[in-house]
């Protein structure tokens, strides 16, 4: 496997939304990117604010650009705030330092893309992303 298909992206989004519904989360914006950071699919639930796309994109695209999850970028930002702040304007969609941007890999660890979610707490956003990736039969970068 060398790319996330549209059908897999749909499966990720559907399972992420189902996880959010099960947990009673706020309305979410969910996107799936290919390995180059380009959008395959996006859905924004009714009632989610209009900026969810930008935030989810900043999580997932930033994760792909730096090569670690947006949770780890958040940990980097806690240790080296000026370094991480300096990166955002250099990257096409910034790098949001908060959980919810998760890199998808194949069974050899090669990057296939990323999932970005925004809408509830960062921790909950990430839980839904991981649930979505697993439901689609794909792997999260460790």
């Amino acid at each position: 496997m060398s790319a996330i298909t549209l059908q897999q992206a749909r499966d990720i989004i559907a399972a992420s939304l189902a996880e959010g519904a099960k947990r009673g989360l706020k309305p979410l914006g969910i996107l799936v990117l290919d390995a180059g950071g380009h959008l395959i699919a996006y859905e924004r639930q009714d009632g989610a604010s209009i900026g969810r796309f930008a935030v989810a994109m900043g999580k997932a695209s930033g994760a792909l650009q730096i090569g670690v999850s947006s949770r780890k970028i958040g940990e980097m930002a806690a240790e080296r705030p000026t370094f991480v702040s300096s990166l955002a304007p250099l990257l096409p969609h910034g790098a949001v330092p908060a959980a919810g941007g998760v890199i998808v890999v194949d069974d050899k660890g090669s990057v296939l893309g990323a999932v970005g979610i925004s809408g509830d707490t960062s921790d909950n956003d990430e839980i839904c992303a991981i649930a979505g990736i697993a439901a689609a039969g794909l792997l999260v970068q460790s």
Copy 2:
């Protein structure tokens, strides 16, 4: 009715893709925007080039910004090329002067959002957008 729901956006995309499949078109990128020009949903078919999102966005967002379809913006561009060229850098996602960006209205003519498609010829992109809007029980701005 005052907004396109996520379910309606899904219906539009599914019906647009079905129309493209029926006609044997190239892989498409299809998006649905709300009345503020913000993304509700997007799908890119396997094999579509990575710039489909930007082009579809430039059609649909430009249509909403100017208040007419991207086909009409194309006609304006033929008559007044420097005027239309001057608009693009002022608008958040430009204004692509080619068919495929279609404004969605309610039965009173109020704007609900827009559909943008890129991937095949502009004419075919627009045919799919109109088919998708009709299938979702919504109306195209006349």
Copy 3:
């Protein structure tokens, strides 16, 4: 094969430069992008002007975004100038409508990346790109 390796990118650049030397061309800037439009390798020959990178990037990245060679984008621009002009500001590195940006595919036609060259005439730039891709054992998108 699902990606252009750094070694293949070096082979492309070396063979493109050799073709330029054989033909006595002006100093060239040559880059190789992955399928997502991200830089793998670049070399600028001594004496080439400082803008060669931007022009080569605009050719190769634009080709990947639109899904056709920059030569074909040039042909599109001749037929539909306002349409093609409208795309450049929407794409991360524009879309230069002149030969010299060539898409690289695998034997199934899947996009692996692109080569962009700037420095001599557009036709000569493209000849070198095609020679480089062939020398690396890769294929040009037909």
Copy 4:
């Protein structure tokens, strides 16, 4: 000597990569800029994340713009964070305040260009840059 040649840039990159391999570092992105901050050469190792170019560029270009290494910009940022943060958006590729962007000078101290590396820790990135510059027979700005 008044400029870094392409051959010297290749030598810098090859020696920097050799240093990284010797130390078992993560995959690197390495670039060499001329005195005007314009790219001479770049290589990204297989497996390096797609944002390595932007980060390496932000280190090397920022160093040239401010006239000190990106390590010193990092020290400035620790003392005067809002000052350094204010510079990034004013500069063409920002100014990343972390080691790995090193200015190259001739034997009279005149600036010839810069090397930028991203991929491993900032300290390791800088070690590889310095090793590469030395191997090419050039000098690091003191």
